[in-house]
Symmetry: C2
């Protein structure tokens, strides 16, 4: 099932493993190229898609719908809390949701129920001191341009 072991695929896997947070295909490609590795964007897309398909990586989508990849830890954590400002993630305990999803499946008669849970917020580092009152229910449109670009926290 796993494809061939090529220079490029190895590079993608290594780069993804090295990084402990979610990355987009484009960012990963940029990283690789910056590191002097000759690889095409297409290949990065394909490698990540295949990694996802074979269970080697988790995927979430950011607010813009862009796919973000992360190597799946051996012990199978599955849900993450992403900071909308700096993009960093942390795994969260998700037993409750897993159970809930299982019960839904049983109750509804739906087969092959799958769930996707995406949590976002503003991490402690990125919280402004006290200038912007944030509405309680969803009202964040798309993050300011800075959030989309920089994947590293300024603080």
């Amino acid at each position: 099932m796993g494809g061939r072991t090529t220079r490029q695929r190895t590079a993608v896997m290594r780069a993804l493993a090295r990084r402990q947070d979610f990355v987009s295909a484009q960012e990963l490609h940029a990283l690789l190229v910056t590191d002097g590795i000759r690889i095409g964007l297409t290949t990065v897309y394909r490698a990540l898609r295949d990694l996802e398909a074979s269970g080697g990586a988790d995927v979430v989508r950011d607010e813009a719908g862009e796919r973000l990849y992360r190597t799946r830890p051996a012990d199978g954590h599955r849900h993450y809390l992403l900071c909308r400002a700096c993009g960093r993630s942390r795994p969260v305990d998700s037993d409750v949701v897993e159970e809930w999803a299982g019960r839904i499946a049983a109750d509804t008669g739906y087969a092959a129920v799958e769930h996707t849970v995406e949590l976002t917020g503003i991490c402690a580092n990125c919280q402004p001191s006290g200038d912007e009152g944030e509405p309680p229910c969803h009202h964040w449109e798309r993050a300011p341009e800075a959030a989309g670009r920089a994947r590293s926290c300024a603080n």
Copy 2:
């Protein structure tokens, strides 16, 4: 907060309300045009985006990342179980998840935590009786490429 009441926005809201399932902006636009309503695709996008922002509609994403909209019932349900075969949805009880998400927010120190929960499965109607074949029920053709299994949350 709410925009003006225009012919087009009214049409979008009516069309969305009439339909009991999730629709994409493009499908909704096609529906409206077919119904003889003169409205631009841009306006449909905007109306739906604004509806979402004001809490008037729920949004999920299909496998392709496309946004699907549905009017939010008055009692504020937020989570749905979508059939991957026919695209029909049913709301599910989500108190457990809401609570869980709230606790995550408190525990992690993240501010403005938001959650997206997407459940998909094969509904009773679409379940093959004895063999593994293409599901029998197709109201509209969605997910032609959904054959690629292995989602982010394989359970």
